[in-house]
């Protein structure tokens, strides 16, 4: 791995972020404006005019875009139209709630998904493997919202053990985290299993055995490092999944995080807040993928030659 490789990746990442924000900007402008949401249907034409002039909505889209872009580059993302305060701070105030959920869910996903996948692959074609895979198939073929609704039905309505929405106590965490973990852990388990199985049939595993390593040494030193490469690769897709999962989960469980804010702001055309969230999400995605590329190059010495050599 060399510096040109990293510079190329960074340039490409910046381009991606710019394209995503521009695209969202245009889509939002094409799909109506916040006047009705804020002022209501009965507002007088003068009030509408004044509101549009205040937020610059009467300018052509091109002018609005230039203003947005030059402000954004200087770090000013504008104010929330609904709340009147800085869009950035209104997003940041909800960020910890979402991060809490995501960190716990991520940790559990990795722990459960990868370890189940490993067990399944090492006990391939035994009853352990089959049980794990049946659960995993059931898990990943169920949509997130169905999991959420079923959990609410069982634990809130029938058993009345857990609160169905809101935040605050540790009980509030359980169902959102379960919702986010079940589907993703199932995906990871399946993927880990197939990655491991593929590696276990590679010729170099035979060499490792022929050398005189014990079975466990073969797994630890030769199978795992090679299986880690495809697993790291899907982390890039997975970060997208977990964000999408957060949006749905937060909306269903009334969790005061960024996901719910995004849905609310889109509904009411709160342009600047949506823009901030989209920027945040695309930066997260891009940074994750960038670090995956770097980890990848570190895990697999072939990467900087093979991938660029084509």
């Amino acid at each position: 791995m060399n510096s040109t490789y990293i510079i190329r990746k960074v340039l490409r990442a910046l381009l991606t972020v710019w394209m995503v924000t521009t695209f969202v900007f245009l889509i939002l402008r094409l799909s109506g404006d916040p006047t009705v949401s804020v002022l209501g249907l009965e507002a007088s034409p003068e009030a509408v005019e004044a509101f549009r002039a205040k937020w610059g909505l009467d300018d052509p889209v091109r002018v609005q875009y230039m203003r947005f872009f030059s402000n954004a580059v200087r770090g000013d993302m504008g104010d929330s139209i609904l709340e009147g305060t800085s869009a950035l701070s209104s997003v940041l105030s909800r960020l910890p709630n979402t991060l809490n959920l995501m960190f716990i869910a991520t940790f559990l996903t990795f722990l459960i998904g990868i370890s189940m996948g490993l067990i399944a692959s090492l006990y391939n074609n035994t009853i352990k493997d089959k049980i794990i895979m049946v659960i995993a198939v059931a898990g990943f073929s169920t949509p997130t919202f169905v999991v959420a609704v079923v959990l609410v039905l069982i634990f809130s309505i029938n058993l009345a053990w857990l609160p169905s929405s809101g935040s605050g106590t540790w009980q509030h965490y359980i169902m959102p985290i379960l919702t986010m973990t079940i589907v993703e852990a199932a995906i990871f388990a399946r993927f880990t299993r197939s990655a491991m199985l593929e590696v276990l049939y590679q010729p170099y595993v035979k060499t490792a055995v022929a050398k005189g390593l014990s079975w466990w040494q073969v797994i630890r030193r030769h199978a795992l490092p090679n299986a880690a490469i495809p697993i790291v690769t899907i982390c890039g897709f997975w970060i997208g999944l977990i964000i999408a999962g957060a949006v749905i989960t937060e909306s269903i469980f009334g969790w005061p995080g960024i996901g719910r804010l995004l849905v609310y702001s889109v509904k009411h055309r709160d342009y600047n807040v949506v823009q901030v969230i989209v920027l945040l999400i695309s930066c997260t995605m891009v940074i994750t993928n960038l670090s995956i590329d770097i980890i990848y190059g570190w895990l697999d010495p072939r990467v900087s030659i093979d991938r660029e050599g084509e």
Partner: protein
């Protein structure tokens, strides 16, 4: 004696591939020179063997003749037609006189179509559809390569490697080409099957008077099958001549070491232990002068500075070596 006519002439053929390693627009493009100024002619009815180790450019030469790659410079003449500039209908008409057989018959066949249909498919492409007649022709051709009609109705995966290679051969023959280029056609086959295919090739040559270009790393097969041989090393022809001149008495040090390296299945034959040292250098960073000089047992100071030309020697063969010119090598 029959009159000797040239059927194919390859002149000053060079090929460089550029590496897509250029990461930033301001970096310089890198090239690999795969072929350097290749010249040879093939006479009608002759079998020419092109031999060499990996990276010598033997397959690239074939692929350029087949128009799979375009040459960086140089010309290829079929009879009196310049092949490189042809277009449209004329190209199709002239090109069908040259056919190609790949190393990997499984990859060259469509797994979902019965093989007999694949044999007559070229006829449809070149002459339009006339299934009944074309089917008959395909079946009789398959029979001539030792395959029954019932085998023709099978799919490639149902056939053995040798049978697949027969199918590919039949498909190449159906347009009645004048030149057949075989690119390592037997390397993937078992020894007992190789001789079947080679004997078949010899039979086809005898019956149809076809011109054969046989590309292989198997020197003994080349000696057996080909009238003349061109030995290539890192994109250059280093020695070329009649097989019965070159093989019993190779002159170029590379040809010598190559022939010496071929194991002979006769334990009574004891040969001097003259194994050439070192590896084939990377084409990305080829040695200066004669490309063989770092491994050459008779290299002189001159060899690292100048590229020796392929010169005609008194016995009619050509060799590109300063030591041969000087008479150092007998």
């Amino acid at each position: 004696m029959e009159q000797v006519t040239e059927i194919l002439e390859v002149k000053n053929l060079s090929k460089k591939f550029h590496l897509k390693k250029q990461k930033m627009p301001w970096q310089k493009k890198k090239y690999v020179h795969v072929l350097n100024d290749i010249n040879f002619t093939v006479n009608t009815g002759e079998a020419l063997g092109i031999v060499g180790e990996s990276g010598c450019g033997k397959s690239t030469t074939a692929k350029i003749i087949m128009d799979i790659y375009s040459p960086t410079s140089g010309t290829i003449k079929f009879k009196s037609n310049e092949l490189t500039g042809l277009k449209g209908e004329e190209k199709k008409r002239i090109r069908r006189n040259i056919q190609y057989v790949f190393q990997d018959p499984m990859g060259a066949l469509n797994p979902r179509i019965p093989v007999v249909e694949q044999v007559y498919e070229p006829l449809i492409i070149h002459y339009g559809r006339n299934i009944k007649e074309q089917y008959q022709k395909a079946v009789s051709l398959l029979e001539s390569v030792g395959m029954s009609e019932s085998l023709g109705k099978m799919y490639p995966h149902q056939l053995s490697g040798g049978q697949r290679q027969r199918v590919v051969l039949a498909r190449a023959m159906i347009l009645e080409p004048e030149i057949l280029i075989c690119d390592e056609p037997i390397s993937a086959l078992d020894v007992s099957i190789q001789s079947q295919v080679v004997n078949l090739l010899m039979k086809i040559r005898e019956e149809r008077g076809i011109t054969l270009i046989f590309i292989s790393h198997d020197l003994s097969m080349i000696r057996h099958l080909c009238d003349s041989t061109a030995v290539m090393y890192m994109g250059n022809i280093v020695e070329q001549g009649l097989s019965e001149t070159v093989f019993p008495n190779p002159l170029h040090p590379y040809t010598k070491s190559l022939i010496n390296a071929i194991p002979i299945p006769d334990p009574r034959v004891k040969r001097e232990d003259t194994i050439v040292e070192g590896e084939i250098p990377s084409l990305l960073n080829p040695p200066s002068g004669c490309r063989f000089h770092p491994r050459c047992p008779v290299a002189m100071a001159k060899c690292s500075k100048k590229v020796p030309e392929l010169k005609i020697l008194s016995d009619g063969r050509k060799a590109a070596c300063f030591a041969v010119e000087k008479g150092v090598v007998q």
